[in-house]
């Protein structure tokens, strides 16, 4: 595996009028993991989307222009980044094998893609159209896509949702193997997730307003 790692500074997130968090700094090296905890709506998914580069990490330019708190958030990754969230990104009408093959062709790791299907026990579901898969099977398919991507860094948003006990154990194994191979993992889960030696961020205790910084 190539080098992996994350450094992120002064992350800021606002949804509508609500400030979710600001001033979050993160650093991860190869093999390390970060566990995001906190109740629903506290900003775990938003933080993951910011780390994925899908949301801006800083206050919007308008606020900065008029001199209000000017965050200069930045997210820098070493290596490629993969995201697994509640959205499957597999064509619903396609048989699973074809839906996964689309990503396998884009990612260019056919052997990894086959491994992923094997590891997640999807071999006997390959002819089933994606829309007929159960919630747990869909989650397994998403993990097969994730593994096929061969990225060094994993962002997992509620990876255990819909999985049975056996599936959850399997996912914990996958995450463990990925870290042992030198990859990083950022994970948000409201279900208990076995993650040894991981850093933990509870967004409840994060400064939510500028006043929170005051001594």
């Amino acid at each position: 595996m190539q080098e992996s790692g994350l450094s992120a500074w002064e992350l800021y997130c606002r949804r509508g009028e609500r400030l979710l968090f600001q001033g979050i700094d993160l650093k991860l090296d190869g093999g390390e993991a970060l566990y995001l905890v906190g109740p629903n709506g506290i900003g775990k998914s938003s933080l993951i989307r910011i780390l994925a580069g899908l949301r801006l990490p800083s206050e919007d330019a308008g606020l900065r222009a008029v001199g209000l708190k000017g965050g200069r958030g930045s997210v820098t990754w070493k290596g490629r980044v993969a995201l697994l969230d509640e959205r499957l990104a597999l064509d619903e009408h396609q048989p699973l094998t074809k839906a996964l093959a689309f990503w396998a062709a884009l990612d260019g790791h056919p052997s990894l893609a086959r491994d992923g299907i094997e590891m997640l026990g999807l071999s006997n579901l390959l002819d089933v159209p994606v829309r007929y898969l159960s919630t747990g099977q869909r989650k397994r398919a998403a993990f097969a896509r994730l593994i096929g991507q061969g990225a060094e860094n994993w962002l997992l948003d509620e990876p255990l949702n819909g999985l049975d006990a056996q599936g959850a154990k399997l996912v914990e194994e996958l995450v463990k193997d990925h870290r042992e191979a030198g990859g990083t993992v950022v994970l948000a889960s409201h279900q208990p997730f076995q993650l040894t030696g991981a850093g933990e961020i509870d967004l409840r205790y994060w400064p939510h307003t500028a006043e929170d910084f005051a001594p």
Binding site: L88, A105, A151
Partner: protein, 220 residues
Amino acid sequence: MSRTLARLLMRDLALFLPGGRRGGTLLPILFFLSVAMLYPFAVGPDAPVLARTGGGILWIAALLAAILPLDRLVAPDLEQGFFDQWALRGIAEEAVIAVRIVAHWLSFGPPLMLAAVPASALVGIDGEALLTVELGLLAGTPGLAAIGVTIAALTASLRAGASLTGLLLIPLAVPLLVFGAGALSTGGTGGLALAAAFSLVLAALAPFAGGTAIRAAREA
């Protein structure tokens, strides 16, 4: 990069071409033919009137038909997370939108030009007018496809997006209609050339507008 774009194009075509799952093609074509069929019933079998106005009606029918597939062009991929996964792989939204315009045009432009042949018989225009309509559609449909994909990207994250698309498309498509259909009455190729030029400008701008729209939708 070009292999990636080819993969995207293949997926888009599989979705949009006839038999594809988003059934974008047949509905607009049937709508186009229905208008051409209804028009003589509505205005009566007056051959000179039909011959004079038939070409224009085909243009209006083509423009309205272009509205039908819009809600399926971008929104499903945004909802299902495809755009997020492409972004993580470093595939720019602009590239995805540009590919989508090509795929949408291929599934919409040529079939419409084919359907214009039976439609011209239904509205009773002669061969010369048909040729002008066909050339006009060839010049104008790439622009219509570019407008369509842009609007689809702009409205993809809105709950009432589908009902807005038609209202947004019509004003933007007016220049195409004026130049393309205008060539029927003025003759010559000036109008067609202007329609083609407008199409090219739209096709060049649309990927940037559409890509920005997708990124803005994520911030919402």
